[in-house]
Symmetry: C2
Subunit: 148 residues, 2 copies
DNA sequence: ACCATTCCGTCAGATCATCTGACCATCGTC
DNA sequence: GACGATGGTCAGATGATCTGACGGAATGGT
C-alpha cells in the first residue's frame, strides 16, 4: 500500500496492476455489451457463485466482506435480475444464491474478455514466461488466499 | 471479476490474492503500531507520494480515482497529520502533497512489513521462482499500468 | 498585450460500499 | 428438549466514489 516511486517495487503492488487492468477491461466490456448497471463490488461477489449456487455466508467469507455487505450486494444483483435466491434443501436457515439467465449471459461475456486479456498478456510475455507466472501465482495463492 | 470455481483461474484474479493479502497485513501492522486511523483508500493515495511531493491531480491519475476523491482522501490524511500541502513553486495553481513527520513514520513501518511479507513469499516459492515472478510482473506492468 | 483554451484544485450533492451491533430462526449436540 | 453455534436480516453510521459546476492561474497564438 505504501510504496512511493523507487527502483524496486514490492511484489504485492506489482500484483495489483494486472488485476486492476483486468477489472477495468471487464467492466468496460460488460458496459459495452449492455450490462451497464454492474459495479465492481457486485462483480467480486458474483464471481464466487458456484454452478449449483452458493450460500451468502460463503460468498461473504470468500470475498472478505461482512455478510451484511454481501447481502446488500446480492440484493442489488437480484433486483437487476442477475441472480436469484432459492431455499437450501439441506438447511432451512440457508438460501442458495444462483445465477439467473441474465447472470449467465454476463458470465459468458466475462469469460470471453478474460481469455482475450490473457492472450494479450501471454503475447507480451511469451508463452514460457506466462506459464511460469501462472505457476508462481498459483503457488503463492497457497499462502495468500485463506479460502481456497 | 467473474470467475466462479473452476480448475484454471484467470491470471488477473490470481494476481489479486497476493495483493489483498499484503494490504491486509499492512493495515493490521499499522494499526498495531498505533496508526489505527488509516484506511486502505488513504493508503492507496499515500503510497504514491514522491519524496519531493506530488500534485493532487497526479495522485488521482495514478490511483485511478477522480481528483475530487483524491482531494477528499488527502484532506483526511492532512487532518490526521500524515501529510501536508505546500504551494508548488513552479505553478501557482498547484500545491504539492508531501509526507509530514507522522507520515514518514508510517512509511517506515510499512517498508518493514513489506520486506517481511516478501521474505515469507520468497521462502514459500524459493529464490528462483520468486525472482521469475518479479521479473514477469515487472514486464506485465508495461502493458497494465498506464502511469509508469 | 489579449483572449481563448487548457489545467489545478475546490465546492456541492448524490450514490454506492462497507462496517458494527442487535436480532430471529434453525441446526446440531449433549 | 435446552443451549451454543450458524445462516441471514434489519437498522444506522461512516467511508469512498462519482458527476457537474465553478474560480483562479498558466499557456499559446494572434
Amino acid at each position: 500500500m505504501i510504496d512511493p516511486a523507487g527502483g524496486r517495487q514490492n511484489l504485492g503492488l506489482l500484483c495489483f496492476y494486472p488485476y486492476r487492468a483486468l477489472e477495468a477491461r471487464l467492466l468496460a466490456a460488460l458496459a459495452a455489451a449492455g450490462f451497464d448497471d454492474i459495479t465492481t463490488a457486485q462483480g467480486r461477489i458474483a464471481a464466487r457463485i458456484a454452478p449449483g449456487g452458493t450460500r451468502l455466508t460463503a460468498l461473504a467469507e470468500q470475498a472478505l466482506v461482512t455478510k451484511q455487505t454481501a447481502g446488500h450486494l446480492v440484493d442489488q444483483l437480484e433486483r437487476a435480475g442477475y441472480v436469484r435466491r432459492v431455499p437450501d434443501p439441506t438447511d432451512a436457515r440457508a438460501r442458495l444464491v444462483q445465477m439467473a439467465e441474465r447472470g449467465r449471459q454476463v458470465v459468458a461475456v466475462a469469460r470471453r474478455v478474460e481469455a482475450e486479456v490473457e492472450a494479450e498478456w501471454t503475447a507480451h510475455l511469451g508463452e514460457e514466461v506466462a506459464a511460469q507466472l501462472r505457476a508462481a501465482l498459483e503457488r503463492l495463492r497457497e499462502v495468500t488466499d485463506p479460502y481456497r
